[in-house]
């Protein structure tokens, strides 16, 4: 039994390392409390409080830059990897808060819980990036996932939203079970829940050890579900379509980035000794994911579903960065997730503009003639779509560039050719949206308006997407900053 003083020491040493998460938790609880006293017309104040929480958390996170320390007896690990991803989650959260306010008002679902849950989800994500212990990681994953189950079903009166949430919950619980099973095997192998100890234990096992492979396969299956990689991707389109559009943006970006952080942490630390095994696995999964995602997206008529399938395809690209598994590839993963965060939230921010009373605005037809109805929105959407397709000079192109570069450096020529050619179907379906926006006559003369908060989100997103495309140098350095650690371990 650790003594009281040991416990206090651990607390004193560990608390500063989780201050960003503490800030978010406090603000989340604060929103839950103050929400009672807010009249319906003042609910937007919750968004301000949530933004303040994000800002405070960002300040604390900024103070942790350059820190490299384990905390709480090694159950969390603060390092540049965590700081990079932490900022990514905070940025995504901030952008989604900005695009949510008016949307929730239109939906008549403006409740404080929405923002509180978003902050709690962010707490979960941040622990996913910093956790260094199976229990911490599993609990943080569930913190995030449970928040998302509720958020996905936030439109209580809408059947699609309920259906999506239920599917998400059932399949998510199932995949968490598989993941937990994998974790238990890892514990059985090593007698420890600490990732470093597990890595040492696995390194001692003979090559091709069946237990290690069992753990690898089950853990991978659970993680593939979370990042929506083939063959565990089926939930994505339904959830994306049914969830509130702002939450679709959030799930597709933040949840994915967090799951990738977890995946990288697990694959680069405990599974590092068996990387030869998972490289092939990831390569196969990546190609399958790109294939299914890209070809399924071609026939979609609902933009949210289309972007859901396209996000599956993007997962394939990001996985390829892990297959390359060199400095460039990992930098590519970090940069790609960064770029994807901004371009995808940007695209969803434009889709949200179309939502108004009596129109859901997520069908391709609803985009018809957007250039005549709101030229600014059409131009922004074009930039986001080109970035998603990987056309320079955008952030999306730089992400793909790094991934291809990593693949070429490590001699994965066939994978590189596959990945490069899959840009074509992607360009095709993104341009379908462009055709509706720019080359189809107006069928619905209502001009979408943009609220100030949405402007802020859109301008921030487009600045990053174009900025990281035209002058990628600082962003590349940021991405490089994130990868130093896992490889050195």
């Amino acid at each position: 039994m650790p003594s009281w003083s040991q416990f206090m020491d651990a607390l004193r040493q560990g608390l500063p390392l989780i201050k960003p998460q503490l800030q978010l938790t406090l603000f989340g609880i604060g929103i839950l409390l103050t929400d009672f006293f807010l009249e319906q017309r003042f609910k937007f104040l919750n968004a301000w409080v949530a933004m303040a929480g994000v800002a405070f958390s960002a300040v604390e996170l900024w103070r942790l830059r350059g820190v490299e320390a384990p905390g709480f007896n090694g159950s969390i690990q603060v390092d540049s990897f965590f700081v990079y991803f932490g900022f990514l989650f905070l940025a995504a959260t901030a952008l989604v808060i900005l695009i949510s306010v008016r949307y929730l008002e239109i939906e008549h679902e403006h409740h404080g819980e929405y923002y509180a849950l978003m902050l709690f989800a962010t707490v979960g994500m941040m622990f996913m990036a910093s956790g260094y212990d199976l229990v911490t990681l599993f609990i943080s994953l569930e913190t995030m996932a449970l928040s998302f189950y509720i958020l996905a079903g936030f439109l209580r009166n809408e059947r699609r939203s309920n259906e999506g949430a239920l599917k998400y919950l059932l399949l998510g619980a199932f995949s968490s079970g598989i993941l937990a099973y994998g974790f238990s095997v890892l514990y059985g192998l090593s007698g420890s829940t600490n990732l470093g100890d597990i890595a040492n234990a696995i390194a001692l096992r003979p090559a091709g050890d069946i237990l290690v492979l069992l753990a690898l396969v089950t853990v991978s299956a659970g993680l593939f579900f979370k990042i929506a990689a083939v063959p565990f991707h089926q939930w994505a389109p339904d959830v994306y379509e049914g969830a509130p559009t702002s939450i679709t943006a959030y799930v597709s970006v933040a949840s994915k980035a967090a799951s990738f952080a977890l995946l990288m942490r697990l694959f680069l630390v405990p599974f590092w000794p068996v990387r030869a095994n998972w490289e092939t696995l990831l390569g196969v999964i990546a190609v399958a994911t790109m294939t299914v995602g890209n070809f399924a997206a071609i026939t979609q008529t609902n933009i949210k579903r289309l972007l859901a399938y396209s996000s599956i395809a993007h997962v394939g690209y990001i996985l390829l960065g892990l297959v390359a598994l060199n400095d460039t590839g990992l930098k590519g993963v970090a940069f790609y997730l960064f770029a994807y965060t901004f371009m995808n939230i940007g695209a969803f921010a434009v889709i949200i503009l179309l939502r108004r009373k009596g129109l859901i605005g997520d069908e391709l037809e609803d985009m018809n003639g957007l250039i005549h109805r709101n030229p600014g929105a059409a131009v922004l959407m074009l930039i986001f779509l080109l970035s998603l397709a990987g056309i320079p000079p955008t952030a999306g192109f730089m992400g793909k560039w790094l991934i291809f570069w990593g693949l070429i450096q490590t001699g994965h020529y066939y994978l590189a050719v596959f990945a490069a050619l899959y840009i074509l179907p992607a360009a095709y379906y993104y341009l379908r949206i462009v055709v509706h926006m720019w080359m189809t006559d107006v069928t619905d003369p209502v001009r979408p308006t943009i609220s100030p908060a949405q402007w802020v989100a859109l301008v921030a997103a487009v600045t990053i997407v174009l900025g990281a495309g035209l002058y990628p140098e600082p962003f590349l350095r940021l991405a490089a900053y994130s990868v130093i650690l896992p490889l050195a371990r």
């Binding site: 400095d327 291809f404 020529y413 490069a420 055709v435 080359m439 002058y471 990628p472 590349l476 490089a480």
Partner: protein, 542 residues
């Protein structure tokens, strides 16, 4: 002025961009303001490129590229902002700025909807094309290469005719397919360059990343020393990008659709400049970077067969067209076949002729597309059968059209002859049969162009709607006159072109065939008698 002197290429490159930025702030309702601004910046873009004519050092006392500009851009991946031109890109840049200005001028009355976007996109397109010809950094090159797709996609898709959406997406995807493969080839070149350094210095690959670069000048010097197999892989990697752009025979199917559906200015730019990006790629990268691949008899035979098939097939398909614009589009396939033929025989005459023919094609096919545009604006049909006897109501137009046709079909005294003749001379040195097929293409070219002219212009006016067509107005004349003047100039006195091209072509030939110039002239396969080839032999006399 000092800034202009040291940054002339950047000024040329970004003048159109300045125009687009300015136009962004003019409300879309002021359509005439956009027309004026578009024309102003189109003309300015040309005007700032004119001083190149006397600043450019033809004899190239400086070996290699001139007007080099450099600024660090993305040091962590070794990509820089690096511009520079040699004789080949110099001519293509002048062609681009001239045709760009003319294309903008020609759309004054043709474009009546979404004027603001139209001029913005045309100017953006201009930036992309100029960037491709100027870039001396592969990363920068690739960015411009792809950037230029987007405005062209919109020009076809928004302002095109009936099947515009199909044509636009087909254009986009075809070109993108080649580009992504080229992207991989570029990365592979970069990587192998780094690996070579690592091997030479005996250090880890990671350490040399800072030494490796996308600098085209460096890669031009290094890549030819790669192994023959690697060179072949890289050659095919970039080949598709350029072959689709040119387009060479089996990859040409996007072209008739895109050219036919695009608005007039779009077709002019497509035919006049965009296709040259493919041939420019061959000249700048494929041939000098992968000499072992292009010298490989199998590859050479394959590429030349494709060129000859393009010449003959393009010409035959032209004969069968009912749509004027489609006919001219297919004639581009045929003419560009000459250009690739000239490039891949790897002789100085072939290469020089190819560049000249590229310029010629830009001028004459640009004119032909403008001519179809003039008719289309008046009658809103492109079917040959709707016309006939147009020379009666439009005599000036008839004269212009005749000059354009003759220039395109290679009539002596006009420019087409010089290019085709020089190419055939170069081909003849290597293989007489290839040259014979090429000559057949010229004959067929005369056939389809003159037959088209006859059906449209001569005979009685069969369609009453054509009786009162107004002749060319002053603006339209202003579009044609500079082009006609250039056609005559190149036809009568092409010596400056040969002089400009001498150094860059020599450099290419020396990389591919280092001993070529050592042989005495008589020992070359067949040297044509001096007197007959006055224009072609001028550079050797200098």
């Amino acid at each position: 002025m000092e800034f202009y002197d040291s940054h002339i290429l950047s000024v040329i490159l970004f003048t159109p961009l300045a125009g687009t930025l300015l136009m962004l702030f003019v409300p879309r309702e002021y359509e005439n303001a956009h027309r004026w601004l578009g024309n102003l910046f189109g003309f300015l873009g040309f005007a700032v490129s004119v001083p190149l004519v006397w600043k450019f050092d033809e004899v190239a006392h400086i070996p290699g590229f001139q007007f080099i500009e450099y600024a660090p851009w993305i040091p962590s991946i070794g990509a820089d902002y690096r511009l520079g031109i040699d004789g080949i890109s110099y001519l293509l840049i002048l062609l681009t700025t001239l045709l760009g200005a003319i294309a903008i001028l020609s759309s004054w009355s043709a474009i009546q909807s979404r004027v603001k976007e139209y001029y913005i996109l045309l100017l953006l397109l201009q930036v992309g094309m100029l960037g491709v010809f100027m870039s001396l950094d592969f990363f920068l090159f690739y960015v411009f290469w792809e950037v230029m797709l987007v405005p062209m996609y919109f020009l076809i898709g928004v302002w095109g005719s009936d099947r515009r959406l199909y044509a636009a997406i087909k254009f986009f995807l075809y070109t993108l397919a080649g580009s992504v493969l080229m992207l991989l080839a570029i990365l592979a070149m970069y990587f192998n360059h780094a690996a070579m350094h690592a091997a030479a210095w005996g250090c880890a690959l990671q350490a040399v990343h800072e030494a490796s670069t996308f600098n085209i000048e460096v890669l031009l010097a290094v890549v030819p020393s790669f192994g023959a197999t690697l060179q072949q892989w890289l050659f095919w990697g970039v080949f598709f990008a350029f072959a689709i752009k040119v387009p060479m025979f089996p990859f040409h199917t996007w072209l008739p659709d895109a050219h036919t559906e695009a608005p007039t200015a779009g077709s002019v730019i497509l035919a006049g400049v965009l296709l040259k990006m493919g041939t420019y790629g061959f000249l700048r990268f494929s041939v000098p970077m992968f000499p072992d691949a292009v010298k490989n008899p199998k590859i050479m035979a394959a590429v030349i067969t494709l060129s000859i098939v393009a010449i003959i097939y393009g010409a035959l398909v032209c004969m069968m067209q009912k749509d004027m614009k489609k006919l001219i589009a297919y004639s581009s396939v045929s003419h560009l076949g000459f250009c690739t033929l000239g490039i891949f025989v790897l002789t100085p005459a072939g290469l020089t002729g190819s560049v000249i023919q590229q310029i010629n094609h830009g001028l004459s096919t640009g004119m032909l597309f403008l001519i179809v545009g003039v008719l289309y604006e008046r009658r809103h049909t492109r079917l040959i059968s709707d016309y006939g006897g147009i020379s009666t109501p439009m005599p000036n137009f008839a004269a212009v059209y005749l000059i354009a046709s003759l220039s395109s079909l290679g009539m002596p005294v006009l420019n087409g002859f010089i290019g085709e003749f020089t190419i055939l001379k170069g081909v003849f040195e290597v293989n007489k049969v290839w040259a014979a097929w090429g000559s057949l293409g010229i004959v067929l070219g005369a056939a389809y162009l003159l037959w088209l002219y006859q059906r449209v212009m001569y005979g009685p006016v069969t369609n009453p709607a054509n009786e009162k067509l107004p002749d060319l107005n002053a603006r339209e004349m202003a579009c044609f006159l500079p082009l006609i003047a250039l056609c005559f100039w190149i036809g009568v006195y092409p010596a400056p072109l040969f002089r400009i091209l001498e150094q860059p072509v020599k450099k290419i030939v020396l990389t591919v065939n280092p001993t070529y110039y050592d042989k005495p002239v008589m020992a070359r396969p067949v040297a044509p008698p001096q007197g007959e080839t006055a224009p072609a032999t001028l550079p050797e006399g200098k």
